[in-house]
């Protein structure tokens, strides 16, 4: 059996569609996941325990069970609770809920990394709780948690492949079906590996640039 990359170029239209779908799921799931994660972390830290307890349970369930099973429950179990989602919507929602749980833990650690004295000072000045989050805590903690956020974003890019089990035609399912019809497993699998690796490199490069920008104030040395 010979190595024949032309298998991929012959099917470029399906592959491009699959990749576009993967990127859509990944970007949307990550973006919504970040919002969920930040909201959960803020609610856990700054409200009473009656609101925090169910959120803690949510985080534990999402982190403690396989993503595959979560997807099944949302897509196939959803209709029993009146939640009839398309495969794509269910997939994005699943990825966002899954990522959100991990993101919330990262944000929580970030919030705790800002010295309490700075928050006392802000409270003493009469600055509101949300303004303290926005103007005192977030700008400082972002520098610290950016690598962890980028790491989770990369992990989520690979989790998008699981969506094939709920019939989403994302990149992995497209390329795998090409592989199984043409028996060109080496070419297709190598191609998949390279694409996900490229995602990693893109996120890493973006995180580096962002890190430099938000971390400007830390790079200055005493004059």
């Amino acid at each position: 059996m010979s190595f024949n990359p032309a298998i991929l170029t012959d099917n470029w239209r399906e592959i491009l569609d699959g990749m576009a779908l993967t990127i859509l799921i990944w970007v949307a799931g990550t973006a919504i996941g970040l919002v969920i994660g930040l909201a959960v972390a803020v609610l856990q830290l700054f409200t009473n325990r009656w609101l925090a307890a169910p959120l803690t349970l949510y985080v534990a369930v999402m982190r403690g069970t396989p993503f595959l099973i979560q997807l099944f429950v949302i897509y196939y179990g959803g209709p029993f609770f009146g939640l009839d989602l398309t495969p794509l919507t269910a997939g994005i929602a699943g990825l966002a809920l899954y990522g959100g749980a991990y993101f919330s833990e990262i944000f929580r650690a970030g919030f705790l990394s800002v010295p309490p004295g700075q928050i006392e000072a802000a409270r003493m000045m009469g600055i509101g709780r949300l303004d303290i989050v926005r103007h005192v805590q977030l700008p400082q903690m972002l520098v610290i948690i950016l690598p962890a956020l980028a790491n989770m974003t990369v992990l989520l890019s690979k989790e998008t492949a699981v969506l094939s089990v709920i019939t989403v035609n994302e990149l992995t399912s497209v390329v795998q079906s090409i592989g199984s019809t043409t028996f060109a497993f080496a070419e297709t699998l190598l191609f998949l590996a390279l694409v996900y690796w490229a995602f990693l490199e893109i996120v890493t490069a973006a995180a580096r640039r962002l890190e430099k920008r938000v971390g400007r104030f830390m790079l200055r040395t005493p004059s």
Binding site: Q118, E120, A121, A122, M125, M218
Partner: protein
């Protein structure tokens, strides 16, 4: 201190029978203290005596367990209903203490903002002052503490003394009626203490009402109207500097002052250097 009835000179801060407990530890045990307009009150005492806790209770950075603290006549942190006290909302706490400025031992500047931004941001966020006006007032405050030329510097680019002066400017910008200082020079290298004390002296001379927790006995002796000595959670002595430093016979106070002077004597001259 005499408990005079309200005769027009209502205290700005009125602490009545305040207790503070952390679990089973009793840190403040029935503190009564009144601070009047334009008075400087210095609070001294050994570490762990409760002096910083008292100041933090007056700012409501700690909830006091029992008693009452009034700020310009308003009960701080609680409401009284049929003799039972209830914690009020954070917004209500912020409203009652809006005229209280606080200066921290560790400065607590926001490191990601320049000196100017540190002073201007609370004006914008808490007082709703427009950006340019806030910046203008912030610059004026920095000039007041002698740091107009360092407005664009980040805290990490400033010395400890300069950082603390920014901390003072930040509190002053809110136009407080009283300033609370929690060991403002304790985290500074000795040669930087003077510049901060000078700013505080100038403030006192302008008539600012101040409560200062400090180990700087020289400052207390020169600037304070009232010196309060706290020991084991109670006010063990209080009065004019003359009264507390020279006359009061309380053995714990004498021991405390003795230790302080011995620590600060570095040259045993003929006339016993170091004694006031």
């Amino acid at each position: 201190m005499t408990a005079t009835p309200d005769t027009g000179s209502r205290p700005i801060i009125d602490v009545r029978g305040v207790w503070k407990r952390f679990g089973t530890a009793e840190v403040l045990k029935g503190i009564d203290l009144a601070i009047r307009k334009s008075e400087v009150t210095c609070i001294i005492g050994p570490s762990g005596s409760g002096k910083s806790t008292l100041l933090r209770c007056i700012a409501f950075l700690e909830e006091y367990s029992e008693g009452e603290i009034y700020i310009e006549g308003e009960l701080l942190g609680f409401s009284l209903e049929n003799g039972k006290r209830r914690r009020v909302s954070d917004a209500e706490v912020a409203r009652v203490r809006r005229n209280v400025g606080f200066v921290f031992q560790q400065f607590n500047l926001w490191p990601h903002m320049t000196a100017l931004e540190n002073v201007a941001m609370p004006l914008k966020l808490a007082r709703g002052i427009a950006r340019e006006d806030a910046a203008k007032r912030a610059r004026r405050m920095l000039e007041k503490v002698g740091l107009g030329h360092r407005a664009e510097a980040y805290p990490s680019q400033l010395s400890g003394g300069q950082q603390q002066r920014v901390g003072i400017a930040r509190a002053l910008a809110m136009e407080p009626h009283i300033m609370l200082f929690d060991e403002p020079t304790s985290a500074l290298d000795p040669e930087l203490v003077g510049e901060v004390l000078q700013v505080m002296r100038d403030l006192a001379a302008e008539g600012m009402t101040m409560a200062v927790v400090t180990h700087e006995m020289g400052f207390a002796a020169q600037v304070a109207d009232t010196v309060v000595f706290i020991d084991h959670g109670v006010i063990a002595a209080s009065g004019s500097p003359q009264q507390v430093f020279r006359k009061d016979e309380n053995p714990r106070l004498r021991q405390f002052l003795q230790n302080y002077f011995e620590r600060n004597v570095f040259w045993q001259g003929a006339e016993g250097a170091g004694a006031p």
